[in-house]
Structure formats: C-alpha cells, structure tokens
C-alpha cells in the first residue's frame, strides 16, 4: 500500500493505491488515524489510482468519516466508475461528500460546511 500525502494550506490530500483490500486497509486506517491524531481536520482522499476496494477498505472510509463528523471534514474524490458503483451500493454516496476531481474537492473543503 503506497500512500501519498500532500499538504496544501490546512488541507491534507491523501492519495491512495490501486488496491484497497484486507491486507492494505489496516495500513491506510493507521495512517489516516495518525493524521487526525496529529491534528489534521480537513482531509481530501484522492482515489484516482483506486481500481479495487472491498468491505475492509470501505470500512476505513466509514470509520474516518465518523471520526471527523463533528470536528472536521473529509471529501473523497476521483472514484473510478466501478469503485463509485460500490460506494453507491453500500449507501456511502448519501453520507459522504464525494466529488469528481481533486480541484473540486479542494474547492468544497475550503467552503464552510452547509448549515444543517
């Protein structure tokens, strides 16, 4: 699992690998939780290389989104069609912010969250 991190202002952009499976998921989870513990509150997860995700990987997105729900923001971008289909199937498109491109993600995360 290769994880790239790129800090732009107060936003941490994390680019993940092509396979997010049972072996890779704990590595990503540990890295993202370490970033949050280290004080990061605005995360963009760039999924452009991602071609395959299973439930172990999906669980990481859910866990991190829950963790940041009240204290930060997470925006997911650049899902391949097959991966987007899985996110939709599992209901994540309703509870997570998912956009098409990294540029869009940076724009969305810079805006104050919409009033509930």
């Amino acid at each position: 699992m290769q994880i790239k991190e790129d800090k732009q202002g107060e936003v941490m952009i994390v680019t993940i690998d092509d396979h997010l499976d049972t072996a890779a998921a704990p590595l990503l989870e540990a890295r993202l939780l370490a970033l949050i513990d280290g004080g990061e509150r605005k995360l963009v997860i760039d999924c452009a290389p991602l071609q395959y995700v299973n439930s172990a990987g999906l669980k990481v997105f859910l866990l991190v989104a829950k963790k940041l729900e009240n204290s930060g923001r997470i925006v997911i971008c650049a899902l391949a069609p097959s991966v987007h289909m899985i996110f939709e199937m599992i209901g994540f498109t309703r509870i997570m912010q998912i956009v098409g491109t990294r540029e869009e993600a940076l724009r969305v995360i810079a805006d104050p969250p919409a009033a509930a």
Partner: protein
C-alpha cells in the same frame, strides 16, 4: 466467454487472499469473462473468503478453504467451501444503509455487497461444511 472451471485450495490466512484474487482474475482473462462479471465475482469471493477466515474459526491455523470457479452457460459461478462455524449469509442481518453517518454500523458491509452484486446466492451446510455458491450472469 470460454467455458471451463478451476478449483483452488488456500490456507485460512488473510495473506492468501491477494494470491487468490490474482488467480480469479487470471481465470477470468483466460476464459474471456466480461470484465463487469469478473469484477463482481472477484469481489464476492474476496468477501466470502475474508469472512470465513476472520470469523469462521476458533483457530484458523492449519485450516483450509476451497474455492471453485466455473464459467458456463453465460454465467460465472463461484463456490466457497469452508469447515468453519455454521454461517448463512443469505439470512444474516444487513446494515441499515439509510442510517445517518453517526448511526452507520461498521459491520455487515461485505455480506451486503455479495447479496447486491450477485444474481443468486445459495448456502448449504453439508458434512460440517459451509458451501456457498454465487452466480453472476454476463450482460
């Protein structure tokens, strides 16, 4: 799609799953299985095998799983056989997908994916083994 079948044996270890996924994709390429069918069945096998390895055994050491894959009659059929605890994924409760984020449970995602992705999911308990068969039609 070219008809054919393969039987794979693997140890009940998480480290085996990557090799299994590779073999499933190789089978698919060799038999010219349509990519959507292959993707869905590969994911379903991954979920079922992961589940059996992580939750099926008190002690997974030395345990073995069998995965059978068959391309036939316009569909891809996969069976996962394990001698772990009795578990019927066709009746297991599913997570509430409409729950707000704070109430979403972390478990149950894999079984939900299998049931959503496959056209047919069948479970049998035979001779102390779980025999799970999933089917996906080419379209």
């Amino acid at each position: 799609m070219n008809e054919g079948s393969i039987t794979l044996r693997l140890q009940a270890k998480v480290e085996e799953i990557e090799r299994l996924n590779r073999q499933v994709r190789q089978f698919g390429d060799l038999h010219e299985v349509p990519s959507r069918t292959l993707y869905a069945v590969n994911l379903a096998i991954d979920e079922l095998v992961t589940n059996a390895i992580l939750h099926g055994f008190e002690d997974a050491a030395g345990q073995e799983l069998i995965v059978r894959l068959e391309a036939s009659g316009g569909e891809l059929i996969a069976s996962v056989i394990d001698s772990g605890k009795e578990f019927n994924p066709t009746t297991a409760p599913l997570p509430d997908l409409h729950a707000p984020l704070e109430d979403r449970e972390l478990g149950g995602l894999g079984i939900h994916l299998v049931r959503s992705l496959m056209d047919h999911v069948e479970w049998q308990r035979t001779d102390g083994r779980n025999v799970l068969t999933v089917r996906k039609r080419n379209r």
